[in-house]
């Protein structure tokens, strides 16, 4: 109906998503929400990689392979992040970033 979308549309979407992720990273007080913001940033990267892969890379699908690696590593990182958060919650009974102040920033 609309014809093929230009590559800029996807890149803009990825850039927006990345910026939302950065915004959430800076502004969230809840540590779980910070982890979610990082996931958003990683997914923005995945959109970028997929876009470049299908528009520019032709037969080779290096971008798609890269995206698979990013997804895998992001899963590992999220698992470790939640585990660390859990152990911190057991010690401090809070997930509020403002109250993690035993160490001075």
């Amino acid at each position: 109906m609309f014809g093929p979308l230009p590559i800029q549309a996807f890149l803009l979407l990825a850039a927006l998503l990345f910026c939302i992720g950065v915004w959430g990273l800076i502004n969230s007080r809840n540590a779980v929400r910070v982890l979610m913001s990082i996931e958003l940033m990683l997914n923005a990267v995945n959109i970028n990689l997929m876009t470049f892969s299908s528009y520019l890379d032709g037969d080779l699908i290096r971008g798609q392979v890269f995206a698979v690696f990013v997804i895998t590593v992001a899963a590992a990182e999220a698992a470790v992040g939640l585990a660390i958060l859990l152990s911190l919650y057991r010690n401090r009974v809070t997930v509020d970033m403002e109250r993690f102040n035993l160490l001075r920033w």
Binding site: L25, G63, V73, N91
Partner: protein, 523 residues
């Protein structure tokens, strides 16, 4: 179409798997990493058999794995270069030198950590396995020549480091350090990835060499943006100001042996990554990244050394001092001459011994007294001459007092900087070195000059010295070894110079950069 050729070759070789290993993948280049990986798996298996079996068998397995890795690395030295895994990994001399530094720092960190782990009641098996995983990531990172392999090895190192810094599960400070490290680290990784995806889009390839050529032919503003993103991550990894905020917190909260590894192994891998990315891939933006790194180096040297003056905790002081030390190493990176690169390698090797020696002393003190405060070291020389002597020698070396090893490393860096007309960097380096000598000496003064009645309460009830308990002999070996090497290494500095120079001479990537740099200087 070299890639298609390789794929064709590998499909042909399907019938003979051994041939595939030799021809297309050239997997022999990662044999040292294989040894580390096997040691890690063996550690995990032994750990299943229970705590006591693990405590008995894990140390020898780790020594064996890392020892074999070091021997294999030595065998690779100056070997003919062939890219392995279809161009994802290259075992040039630069990679070998940095991988050896990483493996050695893990070995020494493990030697000093058994007693610490025993005393804090944490399982050794898992600890060793995670530390070996971090080593594996760091070693692979030193030789990665493809964005995908850079990313995967970087994250292997990072995720394992997060786990290590949160290893004291019952300690809120350790968990907090781990969470801060994780959040900042994964944000940095995401920023790096965004830069990497832009680079992929600009060049249509993930190989650093191809990207470098593509950027050389068409340097665009978008590529400059990618440079900034990638540089931020490199600066995070080597803890350059203003990307250093995590360092003091993580160093203070994490278990001390982990800090020893992070301050040397992780940093060495970061510098190897910096060389690969900036020198190998961003040759087109030479002036830009050198300017940025000059700013980072000046800030790191100044802030690191000045803030270290005000610290009361030994670990926090060493954290800031390590930021300053990273600033010194960056002088070599900015030079981009043969001497500059060789000085980087040499200083990292010297830093390995002097910093781990200092950490061994701090760990020994905290095992005996449970304290990390600088004030608690007052009057220590009467109760524990070994710690006093070892810590003094290592700190003097970190400050760059002749005839210690650190002096030669530092003088070589400054010489390389002066020869390349980086006057600002060298002058800032000299001034901040003097500042750093002040706070290193004040620790030594605290230990040596105080009268017995002025000694701190902790030193007054110092426990009797004994080396019989489990894990103490390896700690003593590491401490004495590091201190000896730091003290007499200055005399042996000639072979080290040669080693560092041949590390640069055996690396085509660096030679190319040196050649283009001198051409530019002439033209």
């Amino acid at each position: 179409m070299p890639l298609l050729g390789v794929i064709f070759l590998s499909t042909q070789a399907m019938t003979a798997p051994g041939e595939l290993l030799n021809l297309a993948l050239n997997a022999g280049a990662v044999a040292p990493e294989g040894a580390v990986l096997l040691a890690m798996l063996a550690t995990l298996l032994v750990d299943l058999a229970g705590e006591r079996v693990a405590a008995r068998w894990v140390p020898p397995i780790c020594y064996l794995g890392l020892g074999v890795a070091l021997v294999l690395l030595a065998l690779q030295w100056n070997a003919p270069l062939e890219p392995s895994f279809l161009g994802a990994f290259l075992a040039d001399n630069l990679a070998i030198a940095f991988r050896a530094i990483v493996a050695l720092s893990t070995l020494l960190s493990l030697l000093i950590s058994w007693r610490y782990a025993e005393q804090s009641g944490t399982p050794v098996g898992e600890y060793a396995a995670i530390l070996l995983a971090a080593t594996l990531g760091a070693m692979l990172l030193c030789g990665s020549t493809d964005l995908v392999s850079v990313f995967v090895s970087l994250e292997t190192l990072s995720v394992a480091s997060y786990l290590l810094s949160g290893y004291m599960k019952g300690d809120a400070r350790s968990s907090e350090a781990a969470l801060k490290y994780l959040l900042i680290g994964s944000a940095a990784a995401a920023v790096f990835l965004y830069g990497a995806s832009l680079l992929y889009g600009l060049s249509g390839s993930t190989s650093l060499e191809t990207i470098g050529i593509a950027l050389l032919t068409s340097p665009t503003p978008l590529a400059a943006l990618a440079l900034v993103f990638v540089l931020a991550t490199v600066a995070f990894k080597i803890a350059a100001v203003p990307f250093h905020q995590w360092t003091p917190d993580v160093y203070e909260g994490s278990p001390t042996p982990v800090v020893a590894f992070l301050s040397v192994g992780s940093k060495a891998a970061g510098f190897a990554l910096a060389l690969r990315l900036l020198v190998g891939c961003f040759g087109a933006f030479d002036t830009q990244w050198k300017l940025l790194f000059t700013v980072l180096a000046v800030l790191s040297m100044t802030l690191g050394n000045v803030v270290a003056l005000a610290q009361t905790s030994m670990k926090r002081m060493l954290a800031y001092s390590s930021i300053g030390q990273a600033g010194f190493v960056m002088i070599g990176l900015v030079c981009g001459t043969k001497d500059g690169f060789a000085a980087m390698v040499l200083y990292m090797a010297a830093y390995l011994f002097m910093n781990l020696g200092a950490f061994a002393c701090i760990i020994l003190f905290s095992i005996r007294t449970g304290s990390d405060r600088i004030a608690d070291y007052a009057g220590l020389y009467q109760k524990d001459p070994l710690i006093t002597l070892g810590l003094s020698l290592c700190l003097l070396s970190l400050g760059g007092i002749p005839p210690m090893l650190g002096f030669f490393g530092k003088i070589y860096l400054f010489f390389a900087g002066w020869a390349d007309q980086q006057y600002l960097l060298v002058v800032v380096g000299l001034v901040t070195s003097v500042i750093s000598i002040y706070y290193y000496i004040s620790v030594i003064k605290m230990m040596v000059v105080k009268e017995p009645q002025e000694a701190s309460e902790i030193v007054k009830d110092y426990p009797p010295i004994q080396w019989k308990t489990l894990g103490m002999p390896p700690l003593r070996i590491a401490l004495v070894g590091c201190v000896l090497f730091t003290a007499v290494g200055g005399i042996l500095s000639n072979p080290l110079f040669q080693w560092a120079n041949s590390a640069v001479a055996g690396t085509p990537l660096l030679l190319e950069a040196i050649a283009t740099g001198s051409e530019r200087a002439l033209g």
